[in-house]
């Protein structure tokens, strides 16, 4: 609970509030469209049209195809979505100006590199057919004719362009902790405000990487759902017939401020980031520790950071990817944290509808967590035709329902063992 007049959190640090936020997913652009469709149990998953899916085991994804790009590339789409949500969040917060934000940028960005269309363009450039492989690619690069690719594909590129567009201060920080990235971006903003480095931070997470190679790579790891028909039923978190996650795209942006500075400028407070927790798993590169200890630890760290008792959590926004392993581990870990209460505490997965937005997931789902609190409606876990008897959770199956929700625990567990959790509340008390 907020300490009131002195605007600090229970641990004596500046409390951190949300004064603006927005999302883009395959369900649509902006909070309103996304929320309406989310609580209606609609799915954004569809057959992939962006590239040929001949011969592929998975032919569906939650692509975002409405940003009006001239030509697709992961960094171009990631930047377009990030810019759109950042601008909306800043406008909602009425902070700074359109071109000047009074704080740093923390951006969760996907690992991008030259893609096949660019490689092919380099390869087929005139005059080098006597060369092979990378020799030929480098000969084309040396002409300088492909210089535009350089600034597009630098790892710093998306943050650089976003920082320029929004006028954030200092070095824009790009981070990539796989599926935990979106939560990490928010956590870093929280830490900067708590340290007193800044009164405000712009935290953005974006991922527009559904291209053939990325899809095939996840497919080769047997991580993806192959329930292609109908596409809307491909993502089945916590169900007995789940078969993997569905790759998706999206972005989320948050304007975070110290409670004191938000109050001082009369800003409308949309939520509170009460706490953040993170923990690394050293068990395996793609599988969780069988006892779920690092996941348990990430959750309990977040609760401790928030000075939040388990009894205060009204709803868990699950990581809920729909892989056979994650969902089982998440259930067992939740049981360790919440005890008997785990059977009645609502836990649902946005990924059943929007798929796994990867680098963006932690931020997109934090946004949906705030909307859950504000609207008093639990989004469902859809596609639960065959419940898993080993997962004894109230997953809000198939249909949303009303509930009073004051505090949410939001989970993001990453490939490579990086786990991050957030505790979010509505208005401060």
């Amino acid at each position: 609970m907020m300490a009131g007049a002195n605007l600090k959190d229970p641990r004596g640090r500046p409390a951190v509030v949300v004064t603006g936020f927005d999302v883009i997913t395959s369900l649509g652009r902006g909070k309103a469209d996304n929320w309406t469709r989310l609580i209606a149990g609609e799915s954004g998953i569809h057959s992939i049209k962006r590239f040929p899916t001949t011969g592929l085991k998975t032919t569906v994804a939650g692509t975002v195809d409405f940003m009006g790009l001239e030509a697709y590339s992961a960094p171009a789409l990631s930047l377009a979505m990030a810019t759109a949500v950042a601008r909306e969040a800043i406008a909602e917060a009425k902070i700074g100006t359109r071109r000047s934000f009074p704080g740093p940028l923390y951006l969760a960005t996907p690992p991008t590199e030259l893609e096949w269309p660019q490689r092919q363009a380099l390869f087929t450039a005139e005059g080098n057919s006597d060369k092979k492989g990378y020799d030929r690619l480098l000969a084309a690069a040396r002409t300088g004719k492909f210089a535009g690719l350089f600034s597009e594909f630098q790892f710093a590129s998306v943050a650089e362009h976003l920082a320029e567009a929004t006028g954030t201060k200092g070095l824009p920080v790009s981070l990539s902790t796989a599926c935990a990235s979106g939560a990490t971006a928010i956590q870093m903003g929280v830490e900067a405000i708590r340290r007193g480095d800044t009164d405000a931070a712009l935290c953005v997470a974006t991922d527009g990487s559904v291209h053939a190679e990325a899809l095939i790579r996840f497919s080769l790891l047997s991580a993806l759902s192959t329930h292609n028909d109908p596409p809307e039923r491909a993502s089945r978190p916590f169900s007995k017939d789940r078969g993997g996650f569905v790759m998706a795209e999206g972005a989320g942006a948050f304007v975070l401020e110290s409670y004191a500075s938000a109050v001082a400028r009369g800003a409308r407070i949309l939520g509170v980031i009460r706490g953040c927790g993170e923990r690394a798993d050293d068990y395996h590169r793609t599988r969780t520790h069988p006892e779920g200890l690092p996941i348990v630890s990430a959750m309990t760290s977040a609760l401790a950071d928030a000075a939040c008792a388990t009894a205060e959590i009204d709803y868990v926004n699950a990581h809920g990817t729909g892989t056979p392993e994650n969902d089982k581990m998440e259930y067992l870990s939740l049981a360790k944290v919440f005890g008997e209460r785990v059977h009645s505490l609502p836990v649902s997965s946005n990924k059943s509808m929007i798929g796994h937005t990867l680098t963006a997931a932690g931020a997109v789902e934090a946004a949906f967590s705030l909307l859950t609190i504000a609207n008093g409606i639990l989004p469902p876990t859809i596609n639960n035709t065959h419940p898993d008897p080993d997962i004894k959770l109230d997953i809000v199956p198939n249909k949303s329902r009303q509930a009073k929700v004051s505090t949410v625990l939001s989970n993001s567990f990453g490939f490579g063992g990086q786990n991050a959790c957030l505790v979010l509340s509505g208005e401060p008390v």
């Binding site: 592929l56 380099l122 990378y134 600034s151 630098q154 790892f155 095939i216 993170e278 990086q418």
Partner: protein, 422 residues
């Protein structure tokens, strides 16, 4: 069994937040073309002229500084782990092991469990042979819409993806070395190194971390990374040359393979476990475009708002410049350094890329490592060549490490000896 609320409260480190804590470097793990480890690097850098190792044949026309020979088993005992990583991750995990051993953290699971990981990363190696095959297949059948998919599925090895993912360097460090508190991976070429280091230092200062393993690796000996730089015309071709020589000739980068990891630790914690530290961290600055300009009037630096400039004004310092050789970044950096020189604040400048090459994400951390080694020896790194001015070795010195990105970003950190206030 439900976690009792009191247990939950106890979990977190209960120290109150404060900006008074001091960050020390207590471990250095460095491997480059010069050798393995802190002592070997000091020895190599003490020989004037420094014997550079440059490979001008395997990646012609691009010279690169190749990694010295290493035995992976020394730091990664399980051969199965070797196969899960590409060369970039192997270099990083190896250097991380060196740093942990150097800091006395290896074999201390209770300390490793309280150590955070902060990695500056690019991507791992593509399979150049597979890429060549795929390109051949798709250009041979341009009308075949499914040709790319078929070629990708046939050529890409499933676990290769894990070797490529940016955050798997940190992941493998956790798995191989058992470092398991939190794990963050920063991206953005040279600025990834600045951001990773700054984050570690800030968390130590604020009391939210007790010790952080921070570092990065660069494998320069890979065609895909060379291609990424060359599309922007960034690489130097032809005979090796120094950073300044390249800058004068229009600019160009000579990449260098390197692994550079540090243990950054809270001073009281380090003292209590009796570890001998290398150096103390002063201010870390990081900007998107340019570092703050030094006030024009003498004496104003000491009073200005920027903590780095205030600290720089206090006493003389030497400079380990992380200049890459790319232009116009070098021009911007030299202009900023010239102002420090005119104000009488700085002494010698060494562009350490001259002797280890340019390590991108790992480059700034390489500079911090070299500065830490130098400060622990009580002497600035000697001139790389006999022609340079002799080092001013008047006892304890402070060292400014700079990190101007070849494309964007500017960072700097002031490092000081343990006994002296930064």
């Amino acid at each position: 069994m439900e976690m009792r609320d009191s247990q939950i409260a106890e979990r977190l480190n209960e120290t109150p937040p404060s900006k008074d804590r001091v960050a020390w470097v207590t471990g250095v793990g460095i491997v480059s073309s010069l050798g393995v480890g802190a002592a070997a690097h000091w020895e190599a850098l003490s020989a004037a002229p420094v014997r550079r190792r440059v490979n001008t044949s395997d990646f012609a026309p691009y010279p690169v500084f190749p990694l010295t020979d290493i035995r992976l088993d020394d730091q990664i005992p399980n051969k199965a782990d070797h196969r899960q990583m590409g060369r970039w991750q192997q270099i990083g995990v190896y250097a991380a092991g060196l740093a942990l051993a150097d800091a006395g953290l290896k074999g201390a699971p209770e300390l490793l469990a309280m150590t955070d990981v902060s990695v500056a990363a690019g991507n791992g190696e593509r399979d150049a042979g597979a890429d060549a095959n795929i390109l051949k297949a798709v250009t041979a059948a341009p009308e075949n819409a499914g040709a790319l998919n078929a070629a990708l599925q046939a050529s890409l090895r499933p676990t290769l993806y894990l070797g490529e993912l940016s955050n798997l360097l940190a992941g493998n460090i956790s798995i191989v070395h058992g470092v398991t508190r939190s794990s963050r991976t920063f991206k953005g070429e040279e600025q990834a190194g600045v951001a990773a280091f700054r984050d570690a230092v800030e968390r130590i200062r604020h009391g939210t971390s007790q010790s952080v393993l921070v570092g990065g690796a660069c494998n320069a000996e890979r065609w895909d990374a060379l291609l990424s730089m060359e599309v922007g015309g960034c690489l130097w071709s032809g005979d090796p040359a120094t950073v300044r020589q390249r800058g004068d000739a229009g600019g160009g980068i000579i990449p260098g393979s390197v692994g550079a990891f540090l243990v950054v630790e809270e001073a009281e914690h380090a003292r209590s476990r009796g570890i001998r530290p290398y150096a103390r961290v002063g201010s870390v600055a990081a900007e998107r475009l340019d570092l703050p300009a030094l006030p024009a009037r003498p004496g104003e630096a000491a009073a200005c708002a920027n903590p780095l400039l205030r600290q720089l004004a206090q006493s003389p310092f030497d400079i380990l410049s992380g200049a890459s050789g790319a232009q116009p970044a070098l021009k911007r950096e030299l202009s900023w350094l010239a102002a420090l020189d005119r104000a009488g604040l700085s002494r010698n400048v060494r562009h350490y890329g001259d002797v280890v090459g340019h390590g991108l994400e790992a480059h700034f951390l390489t500079g911090i490592a070299l500065a830490s080694i130098s400060l622990s020896r009580g002497q600035f790194i000697p001139p790389f060549d006999e022609a340079d001015e002799p080092a001013n070795s008047s006892g304890s010195q402070r060292i400014l490490v700079t990190g101007f990105g070849h494309w964007r970003g500017a960072g700097a950190a002031l490092m000081a000896p343990i006994e002296v206030a930064a």
